[in-house]
């Protein structure tokens, strides 16, 4: 089948246009962060930074408590994601592989939980935490973030567990493994890509959250990076250089994690599905 030149060309041209559209905001963030202020505030945009400066990064990281924010963010995010995976793994295994009364109810329950609009319940959460004398602590943050990502994690993992061929598990059990052993030795390794891609979602959610931490933790020692980033515009006025440097720093861990995990996650899904 012979396609016309136009027929061959348009998908590629569209792809290039789309690529530029999707990448440009990310590119502009990084390039602004490295440009000297004179190039940022100029009548004609400087498309490619020629003389690179680290000035803005210095200002962004020079803020008091910066490293506390970094470590708080890491602790809260990693703990929330780890906990959610652990709790979800058990639940999703039951939902995907077992038959029991009320299974449907559980699935619907988690779907409903996934819809919870957390932003509007902030004051209720604040009052609970306040009355429990747990303000300015990372513990409530961690458990609430865990809860924010738990429903999605369970439902997604359930799909991954279901995609692991049942025969493999049965074969292992015929070979004398207990069900728990079969799970650990056969299913878990096959689930790795699923776990990774699910954790990615959790990581992004927890890393980004700021309305809750804003009311719960007033002390800088217990605050996280999103607050640092969102306070930038008030603190630095229209200093776009420093703001973009801060945004870049904030985005980098996620970008790295994403580029690293996304391929495995998608290929994991496809591979699992095809084999199944």
């Amino acid at each position: 089948m012979k396609r016309s030149l136009f027929g061959r060309l348009w998908p590629n041209v569209t792809a290039v246009v789309l690529f530029i559209g999707f990448v440009f905001p990310v590119y502009w963030m990084f390039s602004t962060a490295f440009k000297p202020t004179g190039d940022i505030i100029s009548e004609d945009p400087v498309w490619f930074p020629t003389d690179i400066t680290f000035e803005h990064f210095k200002r962004a990281t020079g803020v008091d408590h910066f490293w506390t924010y970094v470590s708080n963010s890491l602790i809260v995010t990693l703990c929330a994601v780890g906990l959610a995976l652990l709790v979800a793994l058990a639940g999703s295994f039951a939902l995907a592989r077992m038959r029991f009364k009320g299974r449907r109810g559980f699935v619907i329950g988690f779907m409903l939980a996934q819809m919870a609009p957390w932003e509007v319940m902030i004051i209720a959460m604040y009052m609970i935490v306040r009355d429990a004398s747990m303000l300015n602590s990372l513990v409530p943050l961690t458990v609430f973030y865990m809860m924010m990502i738990l429903p999605f994690t369970i439902l997604t993992l359930r799909g991954f567990v279901a995609a692991v061929p049942r025969e493999l598990e049965e074969a292992a059990m015929v070979d004398g493994c207990s069900r728990a052993q079969a799970f650990r030795k056969v299913i878990l390794p096959l689930l790795a890509p699923g776990l990774m891609s699910t954790s990615l979602f959790g990581f992004i959610t927890a890393w980004n959250e700021f309305p809750l931490v804003l009311v719960l933790n007033k002390e800088a020692e217990a605050q996280t990076l999103p607050l640092w980033l969102s306070s930038f515009q008030t603190a630095f006025g229209n200093d776009w250089g420093a703001t973009m440097a801060a945004s870049s720093l904030f985005a980098i861990p996620i970008l790295i994690l994403f580029v690293f995990l996304q391929r495995r996650a998608v290929s994991g899904l496809t591979a699992g599905a095809v084999k199944g």
Binding site: I75, L83, R130, N136, E219
Partner: protein, 425 residues
């Protein structure tokens, strides 16, 4: 029953696993020791830019020397401060002492979140200027102590004005306008940077017109924006705003007008004296070009009306360290440190006798003539709700600047304005 047990186990499990995550920053206890205040730390919230580092250091030293206790200053941003303060005051460990805007004080006094400072007033407040102390009194009781006050002036770029061939600073509103026009014609600078929502300046103009923002309707307060005097104030604002390229829907902090001015291509702006510091930080070379003058009024004998902004210091009713907090106030508001603050920041101190500290301060000398005719927003508890974003007065201003008549704009925001004034307390 069973469910309860189950969830309890779940919680216990979670807490154990979380212990590994760590990071609990529990506050150290602050029990009053038998041996005075040694070992205690007093938390004081001050607003960004309100007190210089030098002042904080000096007060800290004096406080430690006198009480053996420490004081920790925590800098707060104005943006979202009411929400932060309300929740903080409801907590176990509220800030012991905090700075609070004079227009916001009545609302907080009414909530019961502020401690009664009657004895402090008797002890150190006998000669506090009555007009400055007005906002601290609610229902006959003293709920805060007046700290410092300030009003806006015109900050101008001497170089730009010289380029335009202007020799003297203007004495009347018309001269001011003519000068700005001349800058627009003779230079390529923006004559004045005046964003559409510099609402404190607008409030000043209404005070100059002798207008009130609210009026009483029975036992309720309602909008008075349809008063022709308010419309007149808004027309003045609009006339000057037309000379500026600044956005009509932004206030003076986004972007910071000081930074815009700092670039050196703006003739003037209306702001607080300390905003010069922002300009200098953005561009150190501008320092020698900055001059100040009183905002000119309709006639030469009476400067423009100004909003007399200011801050009080209050003690949280929930603070465990009431006595220590009062000790702090006695030091911070003493003639020595109140005077030092006036001197360093060029702000109006709470006693007339301390105004000598302002001599030679260009900002204060420009600000002082207008202060006498200054005023505030209505000092009623209902007012605090009006200032919450989106502030209906700002909406009103933008609407007029975008072409609506003042009457139409007043009508547009009336419902929102009245709703806020009528909010259940």
């Amino acid at each position: 029953m069973k469910r309860k047990l189950i969830s309890a186990i779940g919680v216990a499990g979670m807490m154990i696993s979380l212990a590994a995550c760590g990071g609990d920053n529990g506050d150290g206890g602050d029990k009053a020791g038998a041996d005075g205040y040694a070992g205690q730390t007093l938390t004081v919230w001050v607003m960004d830019g309100s007190s210089p580092d030098q002042w904080q250091k000096d007060v800290q030293a004096a406080f430690e020397k006198k009480t053996k206790a420490k004081v920790k200053f925590e800098i707060q941003q104005w943006n979202g401060i009411q929400q932060k303060l309300t929740t903080a005051l409801s907590e176990e460990n509220p800030p012991d002492v905090f700075e609070i805007g004079n227009t916001q004080t009545p609302a907080y006094a009414k909530t019961g979140g502020l401690a009664d400072l009657a004895d402090l007033k008797t002890e150190i407040g006998a000669d506090w200027a009555a007009s400055l102390n007005e906002s601290s009194i609610y229902d006959g009781k003293q709920y805060a102590a007046p700290w410092y006050f300030a009003n806006r002036v015109v900050l101008y770029n001497k170089k730009v004005w010289a380029e335009a061939g202007i020799k003297d600073t203007p004495k009347t509103r018309d001269e001011f306008y003519a000068d700005l026009k001349q800058i627009g014609e003779k230079t390529d600078a923006e004559p004045i940077y005046l964003p559409g929502q510099n609402w404190y300046h607008f409030v000043g103009l209404t005070i100059g017109e002798g207008a009130e923002l609210v009026k009483k309707d029975g036992d309720k307060y309602v909008s008075n924006l349809d008063d022709p005097k308010i419309a007149a104030a808004m027309e003045t604002y609009k006339k000057f705003q037309a000379l500026s390229k600044a956005p009509k829907d932004k206030d003076e902090a986004t972007p910071q007008q000081g930074e815009v001015f700092g670039k050196g291509n703006v003739g003037a702006f209306i702001g607080m004296g300390w905003e010069a510091g922002i300009a200098i930080k953005a561009n150190p070379k501008i320092e020698k070009e900055i001059g100040y003058f009183t905002i000119p009024g309709a006639t030469a004998d009476k400067p423009e009306g100004v909003f007399l902004g200011g801050s009080n210091l209050a003690v949280a009713a929930g603070s465990q360290k009431q006595e220590l907090a009062k000790e702090f106030l006695k030091i911070a508001l003493s003639d020595q440190y109140e005077g030092e603050l006036a001197k360093l920041n060029g702000v109006i101190p709470n006693k007339e006798s301390l105004q000598t500290n302002l001599k030679g301060n260009a900002v204060a000398e420009a600000a002082a003539p207008a202060a006498a005719g200054g005023g505030t927003t209505p000092l009623i508890p209902e007012w605090a709700a009006v200032e919450n974003a989106p502030n209906p007065i700002k909406t009103y201003m933008t609407a007029v600047l975008n072409g609506k008549s003042p009457a139409e704009a007043a009508k547009q925001v009336e419902d929102e304005f009245n709703k806020r004034l009528a909010q259940q307390q």
